[in-house]
């Protein structure tokens, strides 16, 4: 079936079987491999994307469900010059990236949190990334990176 949706701000049209997940269509049909498949059953968060601004596991969403809606993947998170945005840079600066497999999902979980809550407490950051598993870092550096970005964005908005 033909599925049309907004992908990272640009309209796309893809011909894919109706039973394909959004994850499969992003990776295999649209060649956007930043979104990772981890567990495939909605427990690890590696495949997280934003669907109409909400963080979802793309392994549990049919691509057809995205029809007419807005999808943001990790490829859509970047600074205007194409490099890492402030949150991604904070991940690098905080040493939050080790093997990197969970990071696209973590960054999207961080962006979803900061869009809804510009001054998150540390516990709120932990709750926001509770659906994203990382086996390398122990999470401290990831929480640090999201917190540092929240602080920096507040300073920019007020200063």
């Amino acid at each position: 079936m033909i599925i049309e949706f907004s992908l990272n701000g640009t309209g796309v049209s893809v011909d894919a079987p109706a039973d394909r997940t959004l994850l499969a269509v992003l990776r295999d049909h649209l060649n956007l491999t930043g979104t990772k498949e981890g567990c495939g059953v909605g427990e690890c968060g590696a495949c997280s994307v934003l669907l109409d601004g909400r963080l979802v596991n793309s392994c549990l969403v049919l691509a057809a469900q995205a029809g007419g809606r807005q999808v943001i993947t990790i490829e859509g998170i970047r600074s205007p010059d194409g490099g890492p945005n402030d949150l991604q840079q904070a991940f690098i600066d905080s040493g939050a990236v080790q093997c990197g497999y969970c990071i696209p999902g973590m960054v999207l979980a961080g962006e979803a949190l900061l869009a809804a809550n510009s001054r998150p407490k540390r516990t709120e950051i932990r709750q926001a990334i509770a659906g994203n598993l990382c086996r390398c870092t122990g999470y401290q550096q990831i929480v640090d990176a999201i917190q540092a970005t929240a602080t920096k964005r507040q300073e920019q908005n007020h200063g």
Binding site: M1, D19, A64, Q65, A128, A130, G131
Partner: protein, 290 residues
């Protein structure tokens, strides 16, 4: 080859029509957090899924007289963020917060939790405690059941084939009521419930218990109010001893309904402690207005 087709319904009537189209075995697709997984292990489950998530009416949460009506496709996140629910049934908010993590709460729906009827469903004990009513549309009309009557057991409901669960509603608890939801899982997030307790109650002007409702979850095959425990509390003055005795009765009742099994040794003391804690919160100071 496609294992199943996809069609999106734009209204409730269209959804019911699509679900009952002759010759096509259709299943409603809401959050998909259960259904998408089931289609992988049961490829012959259905010929087509009918996406009901883009029907605005199924997301509405409204106060109609003294009843709160929640559209069946309202996501857990939508319920959590809703002022009407938080001001009338904090227990339901607490239960919805316990579901999965952000990603699951953003997709998973209250109606899906009820219709899928997992034994460990977090919202079910809260809805049963609220005496919630489910409204189901079929081509022949509509039917209403108490959630506790509609959900018969693990993954078993009496929703007829082709029926669509459209809303869940409850009467606003009486002024002065407090409610609480407690969950025991292996960790804080993304944990399947080992046990839950939903409790709601109210004291009369003399300080005696005027109303008590108690629903353990993941404890019995059929999620129901434990009337024998509730009756033991009515007209009593709240005390530590009363709650301990009601809590032991709750564990006994669980074992009576479920039989003794390998987990009983763990579940009995856990449910006793959780029930005593829930009752203390409802009838002393720790509960929340509901």
């Amino acid at each position: 080859m496609e294992r199943f087709g996809y069609v999106r319904a734009l209204s409730i009537l269209e959804a019911v029509a699509l679900l009952n189209e002759p010759g096509i075995r259709s299943r409603p697709l809401a959050g998909g957090t259960d259904l998408i997984l089931i289609t992988r292990t049961e490829p012959a489950l259905c010929d087509r899924v009918v996406d009901i998530t883009q029907i605005p009416d199924l997301h509405h949460i409204t106060l109609e007289g003294d009843r709160v009506v929640i559209g069946a496709a309202a996501t857990f996140s939508e319920v959590i963020e809703n002022q009407i629910v938080s001001s009338t049934a904090p227990m339901l908010i607490q239960a919805c917060r316990q579901v999965g993590a952000t990603q699951i709460r953003n997709m998973g729906t209250l109606g899906g939790n009820v219709a899928n009827a997992a034994a460990c469903a977090d919202s079910l004990p809260a809805l049963v405690c609220l005496d919630a009513v489910a409204r189901v549309l079929t081509p022949n009309g509509e039917q209403e059941w108490l959630v506790s009557e509609m959900v018969r057991g693990p993954n078993r409901t009496i929703i007829p084939a082709g029926g669509l669960l459209v809303s869940l509603s409850y009467t606003v608890p009486m002024p002065g009521s407090q409610s609480v939801f407690i969950k025991l899982g292996r960790r804080n997030a993304m944990a399947i419930s080992r046990l839950t307790v939903a409790a709601l109650g109210r004291l009369d002007e003399t300080g005696r218990i005027a109303e008590a409702r108690l629903v353990p979850g993941s404890a019995t095959p059929h999620i129901c109010r434990f009337r024998v425990v509730e009756e033991s509390l009515i007209d009593q003055v709240p005390s530590h001893e009363l709650f301990q005795s009601a809590a032991r009765l709750t564990a006994d009742e669980m074992t009576r309904q479920s039989g003794r099994r390998w987990s009983s040794e763990f579940k009995e003391p856990s449910l006793t402690a959780m029930t005593a804690r829930a009752l203390a919160q409802v009838f002393e100071t720790g509960g929340r207005n509901a």
